[in-house]
Structures are given as C-alpha cells and as structure tokens.
C-alpha cells in the first residue's frame, strides 16, 4: 500500500507502471469471474435458481448446503480483497466522485453477497437482487479500472 503515501503518483513512473499492471490483472480477474460463473453457477435469474434449487424437469439436483457455503465464503474473500485494493487505487488517482463511486461499488457488492444466502435459505426473489447487484458492481469496477488506467497513463511517460 506504499502507493497511498507517494506524493505524485502519476509522475512516479515505476509506481504508476506497477499499478497499471495490477489494474490489468484485476480487469482480467473480473472478466474471468463472469465467464467462470456463466459456465458454472450461472449469471441469469433462471440459471442461478436452477443451480441453487435444482430443476426436477431437467433432472438437475439442488446445490448442497456445504458446497453453497464454501462458494459463498470464497466469493466474500476474493471480492473483499479485490475491492479493497481497487478502491484504494481509485481513491488515489481520482479527484471527483470517488466517494460516490466507492460507496456504489461496495454497497452493490455487499448486496449481491448478502442476497446469495437469502436466495438459498429464504426465497427465489433474492436471485433478482443478486444478479442485478452482481452486474452493477462489475460495471462500476470496470469503470474504476479503466478510469484509473487512463489517469495513470495520461500523466506518466
């Protein structure tokens, strides 16, 4: 987290390069996350419901509780670490709207994570909230990555 105390990060070419490399990896992670989720857990309302609750007509079993809790636990950790580092970089390079965007990013990510057990234990209704919040935080994260890359690139050699 040295970059949080470097005075003019855009003019520090080595730190700027490191952060651009890191942002590229976060971008790749987010894209891969969507692709992996699409092929496994599902990213549509129907697919997520089928994975969690099963489908008798298609002979698909419901996800068992242990697998669900492991999936949820892993998701929380990865999202937490990625968003902490991404928001720290974004806050460092952005001048305006950083609090609004950070709040929107974090709240939507937390909403999507809380919706998962609510879908599993309570009602299918929360699937809608999960899917919408999931895409919302991915979209904001994508914007933050591209904006930070642009800001770091604009003023570095």
């Amino acid at each position: 987290m040295k970059f949080t105390v470097v005075k003019n990060i855009q003019k520090n070419s080595s730190m700027s390069l490191i952060l651009r490399g890191f942002l590229l990896f976060i971008l790749l992670y987010l894209i891969s996350d969507v692709l992996v989720l699409k092929s496994g857990f599902g990213i549509t309302f129907e697919a997520v419901n089928t994975t969690l609750k099963g489908n008798e007509e298609l002979y698909i079993d419901a996800m068992n509780e242990a697998s669900f809790l492991e999936f949820w636990h892993t998701q929380i950790f990865f999202i937490m670490m990625i968003l902490l580092t991404l928001s720290s970089i974004f806050i460092r390079v952005a001048n305006r709207s950083r609090a609004i965007l950070t709040n929107a990013l974090m709240l939507s990510a937390i909403t999507s994570l809380i919706s998962l057990p609510l879908t599993f234990y309570l009602s299918n209704f929360f699937t809608y909230i999960y899917v919408i919040a999931y895409f919302f935080w991915h979209a904001i994260a994508l914007y933050m990555i591209l904006y930070a890359l642009w800001k770091l690139n604009a003023t570095s050699v």
Binding site: M1, T4, A66, I76, M81, S87, I91, N103, I110
Partner: protein, 146 residues
C-alpha cells in the same frame, strides 16, 4: 488519514464481518462446535457413516487457508497503526496471538488424525480465539474511523 480511505476501511470491516459469519456457518455445518463432532469429522465415525479425513484431503483444504489467513491477518493488523492502541506491548501481543491462533486453527487437524484427540479442543479454541481477536481489531478500527 484521508476521508476517502476511511471509506475503504469501513467497507473492509463490513466484508470481514460477512467473512466471519460465513466461516462460522461453514464450520458449524461441516464440522460442528463440539469435541465429538470435531473428532467425528476428522477421524470418522462408522456408526454415523462419516468417513475419516486423509492427510492429503486436509492438505487440500489447508493450502489455500495458509495464504488466506496470512493475507487477511496482515491486512487487518497493519491497519492497527491508525488506531488509538497506544501500548506497544498490547499491540505486539495482539499480533503474536492472532498469528499463533491462525496457525493452530490451520494445523490442528493433522494432530487430530495423528491420534492426538486432545487437539480437537485446541481446534475449537483457536477458531474462536482467532475470530474474537479479529472482531476486537475490527472494533478498534471502527472506533477510529467513525
């Protein structure tokens, strides 16, 4: 500390609470919080049709947790420099005990399957001590940034 960074830390606290909740639910569902349930999970129970865990199977679970516990504890504890924890002694004890309980929580399953049943108690104790210390650190952080 910048106001915007306080925001990041605040959300880190919220995510940590969610992580703790999911960890407790997972532990309770897969293993259980009693001495016997911990033994059943690791060394198996024929009457309950619970298969014993192998060292390789435990290692598969332990491997990602070594990295995750280390990273999580490091990130959380390094925020302590922003808190009002004036006593360097308490600060050091907190760091040592957090890492030691994390290590015990990760490696006690190997002792249990090696026949040291007593380590089932250590497993439960280290799990809850690690979570309690994490909650205490989160509370210190929250007090500072509110």
């Amino acid at each position: 500390m910048q106001q915007a960074y306080k925001l990041s830390i605040f959300y880190y606290i919220l995510f940590s609470l969610l992580l703790i909740l999911s960890a407790v639910m997972l532990f309770e569902h897969k293993i259980g919080f009693s001495y016997n349930s911990v033994l059943d999970y690791y060394i198996g129970n024929e009457d309950k049709f619970i298969p014993a865990q192998s060292a390789a199977g435990i290692l598969k679970i332990v491997l990602p947790h070594i990295f995750v516990f280390g990273l999580f504890a490091m990130v959380l504890l390094h925020f302590l420099v922003f808190t009002d924890l004036k006593s360097r002694r308490v600060f050091l004890i907190l760091i040592y005990v957090t890492f030691i309980t994390a290590l015990l929580d990760i490696f006690t399953p190997f002792m249990i399957i090696s026949g040291w049943s007593f380590f089932a108690y250590i497993k439960i104790l280290s799990f809850f001590t690690f979570l309690s210390l994490t909650l205490f650190t989160l509370w210190l952080l929250f007090r500072k940034i509110r």
